[in-house]
Symmetry: C2
Subunit: 163 residues, 2 copies
DNA sequence: GGATTATTGTACGGCGTCGTACAATATGTG
DNA sequence: CACATATTGTACGACGCCGTACAATAATCC
């Protein structure tokens, strides 16, 4: 009877629990860490990112925001709705394209954006602890490479709408 | 000379557009890639991970599954519900603790588990392309270190239930 | 023993995101 | 110019996961 040893539950992870799932877990923690630090501002990571983006780059169409934040256009709509309701961003019509809204920061939003930036810098500094600069760069490089491979794999599985 | 070169595009991205958000984006792609490859089996990454886990380690309580898959107990319940409805796993009562269900693989499920493993190996091989062994190890190391920092930051922000 | 405290799985409501379909508008083609 | 095609933002339903509260059971403490 193969008695399952309850003692060595350190390495009993499933096969996909290698780099990929370490990565997934880390991503979850990143979100969690940012969210908890942003909680006093009553913002989550997505909202904070949006505010930070428009605070830095000015009025931006929602589609561009969606691309930059990595979520869908529909989702961006509701995020903007909330932030607008709180008076942190505003929608301006685009004089050159009447379909689009240009999302811009308000004066109240700019203040929030500053606090977001402060939170971000503090947390980022904490996360760097014990990790050298070139290690961070190496990490970024490998992940970028991994992204290429991932995109490749995704494309080869699902032949998407051929343009 | 620690004088950083000015007008350099080192800082041209918003603060959260650094390693952390590369990481988030990569994690999204990982999920997407696995999901698309698992689509023929009509499974998502979470379901596949659960199947793989019980196929390898045998009957497991739901709480342990939740811990290992990194999602909550409530969520595990519904995942098991679905897989059970499809006859891929089954719930057995634990003779030693009448609160728990032991989730185990069925014979039908074992077959699925094999196909899951095949998918996993293929995809994993693709993802390794152009990334050396020591690079992968470095990646894993840095991410582990990052996880420590993250956990630390999360703990210091939210003092948990002080008994 | 009985009473407290902890743990397991479930029910429920909520949140964030996705995918699809749609109207309004823009862009390209003949 | 008319027409087809692409793009923008929104509405809507769905999914996956979370957090909380709960009953059932276990473990612990007088």
């Amino acid at each position: 009877m193969p008695q399952p040893s309850l003692t060595n539950h350190e390495l009993d992870s499933p096969p996909w629990s290698r780099v990929e799932s370490t990565l997934m877990a880390t991503a979850r923690l990143v979100r969690e860490a940012f969210d908890s630090r942003l909680a006093p501002l009553d913002l989550n990571l997505t909202q904070a990112s949006l505010i930070g983006y428009v605070a830095e780059f000015g009025a931006t169409s929602q589609t561009r925001l969606a691309d930059h934040l990595g979520i869908g256009r529909a989702a961006i709509g509701t995020v903007v709705d909330h932030l607008q309701a709180r008076g942190l961003v505003e929608r301006q019509p685009d004089v050159e394209d009447r379909r689009v809204w240009l999302v811009d920061i308000t004066t109240a939003g700019r203040e929030t954006a500053d606090r977001v930036r402060a939170v971000d810098e503090v947390l980022r500094a904490e996360l760097r602890r014990g990790i050298g600069r070139e290690e961070r760069q190496a990490l970024a490089w490998v992940m970028t490479r991994l992204q290429q491979n991932l995109r490749n794999s995704i494309d080869t599985t699902r032949p998407p709408t051929p343009r």
